[in-house]
């Protein structure tokens, strides 16, 4: 058995053991399983919120985009800095409301704000729709990492199955505690790996970072800036904006807000998280170096791993693969947790009015393996690249943004029907833009260049906002703005 396989197996068992150990000494009731009894301190919240940065998207997607597209990959650094700034003002009111109402999931927030279980059902569906591509992204990355680092000894599909098994077991057993424990270790390991590769590979390729960029500029003129057509400045600006708007609307990120013990943690983290984002530069550097070391790879997502395999000994590749494995399993577990909670509480829950909180908690845990299985099928079916899967998910979650912002106003003027109308138009438009093919892409026919290259997720969001405003205006003209929000109808906590 080669060294890389042994190291990967050790990481796999380590993750499983740590995840299971996280539950020791605690009763895993609903509040403990989903929001860690709302008692996480600054470090755990930092790592949960920063989890967005260090996923397989960082490891493979960012370097893959630097390898394949060059300048457009800079957007990956840009959006986080803006999103963390937005979080300074956005997260404290969300946290306060969630704590007062004892909310567990993102959907609970919308149900409470708009006093509508039906709207909650819709929000849960949008969230689940968005999280599936993201979960598939983690699984796809996991498969690639293990297959490449073991030189094909462990195939991609087997790796996806084993990785999914590990995260299914520990999410079922320990919930958010397992994710938080492993998130801290994952970030430290991944940080060290990405910084090492970002420094080593440019030196190996061209003798340093400056010479690397000059080599690329000489052989690929224009590659280090944005092209005039396609991934141009319009695409860049609209994609950064879309990612900022959707950043905290991922149900698993939204849920981790509830786990904080103090609202000031978000403000302090907003100061330091943009600096943490800078580490992504090293992932891009590794991708650029791979372009010089191994040009012409058909799958861009493999750039970092292929360059590492080409230049480093087997044991080191095993360590890198182990870090990559963590980068998939930790965010994957948060996603699984969020999907299971939303599905049990907000999709199945309204159909089971006699079930108390703890029975719904058991249902959520029982759903985890089925959701994991469905994500594997999605990953096999979608066949899209890592960054494209992420952008699709961002497009969907961003459709919840207008309803969220309106709900945080002192007097929310937006009625439920306007949220339904705007959100439905946004989701349908994005689905058609993304999967409808050329006949649907009307914006490319009517908008002049370079505007036609606007991110379709932002276009769907704009349609959402227009419809939401029109319906709100129409309802207010008719003199009916819907009933004011009432407290969530709570379920009994004891059977």
């Amino acid at each position: 058995m080669n060294t890389a396989v042994v190291i990967l197996a050790a990481v796999w068992f380590g993750v499983l053991g740590l995840g299971l150990a996280a539950r020791r000494g605690r009763v895993m009731n609903l509040e403990q399983w989903t929001v860690g009894r709302r008692g996480f301190g600054g470090f755990l919240i930092f790592f949960l919120l920063a989890g967005e940065i260090y996923t397989t998207f960082t490891f493979l997607g960012a370097s893959g985009w630097a390898y394949g597209y060059g300048g457009p990959s800079y957007y990956i650094i840009a959006y986080g800095a803006l999103a963390y700034g937005l979080g300074y003002w956005l997260l404290p009111p969300i946290w306060r409301f969630a704590r007062t109402r004892k909310l567990y999931s993102q959907t609970d927030f919308f149900v409470a704000k708009y006093d509508s279980q039906a709207l909650g059902f819709g929000v849960a569906l949008v969230g689940i729709l968005a999280m599936f591509p993201y979960l598939a992204l983690q699984l796809e990355g996991l498969g690639l990492i293990v297959e490449v680092t073991t030189a094909g000894r462990v195939g991609s599909f087997v790796a996806v199955l084993l990785g999914t098994l590990a995260l299914t077991v520990y999410v079922m057993a320990s919930g958010i505690r397992a994710a938080a424990w492993t998130a801290a270790i994952k970030d430290l390991v991944l940080l060290a790996t990405v910084v090492f590769l970002g420094l080593f590979l440019p030196v190996h390729a061209s003798g340093g970072i400056g010479p690397l960029f000059r080599t690329i500029a000489r052989h690929h003129p224009g590659f280090l800036k944005l092209p005039a057509v396609g991934l141009n400045p319009v695409w860049f600006g609209s994609t950064v904006l879309l990612s900022v708007l959707g950043f905290y609307l991922w149900p698993h990120t939204f849920g981790s807000i509830y786990a904080a013990r103090d609202e000031d943690l978000f403000r302090k983290n907003a100061i330091f998280l943009p600096l943490y984002q800078l580490v992504l530069l090293f992932a891009l550097l590794a991708g650029f170096a791979a372009l010089v070391i191994l040009p012409g790879l058909p799958n861009h997502d493999l750039a970092l791993l292929a360059a590492a395999a080409h230049t480093l000994p087997g044991w080191m590749l095993g360590l890198i693969g182990g870090a990559g494995l963590l980068s998939a399993v930790v965010p994957g577990s948060m996603l699984l947790l969020a999907i299971a909670t939303q599905f049990a509480r907000n999709v199945a829950g309204p159909c089971l009015p006699r079930w108390n909180e703890e029975r719904l908690n058991l249902l959520a845990r029982a759903l985890v393996p089925f959701i994991a299985g469905a994500a594997i099928l999605f990953e096999r079916w979608s066949g899209q690249g890592i960054v494209l899967l992420l952008l699709l998910g961002y497009g969907y979650v961003t459709q919840l943004a207008p309803a969220l912002w309106a709900s945080l106003l002192p007097h929310n003027p937006v009625p439920r029907c306007a949220v339904w109308a705007g959100g439905s138009v946004g989701v349908i438009a994005l689905t058609l833009f993304s999967f409808g093919g050329a006949p649907i892409r009307w914006e490319q026919r009517i908008l002049p260049q370079p505007l036609a290259d606007v991110n379709v997720g932002l276009l769907a969001f704009a349609l959402n906002v227009v419809v939401l405003l029109l319906v709100t205006g129409a309802v207010r003209i008719r003199g009916s703005t819907g009933s004011p929000p009432r407290p969530l109808a709570s379920r009994p906590t004891q059977g």
Binding site: F213, L226, V234, G237, I271, L275, L281
Partner: protein, 52 residues
Amino acid sequence: MALLVGPFFLNQVHPWVLDLPFLLFWVLLWTTLASGFMGLVYWIERGGSTPR
């Protein structure tokens, strides 16, 4: 705005700054400054006192 609109006007490789293409340097510069701005906002909101 610097990160959203800047690339429309500064989409160029030259001049190289810190051995980086100019557009990449621009993005990194404002990402770093974002952290400083948030620190400043926090300090001002706390009335200029030392953060808790």
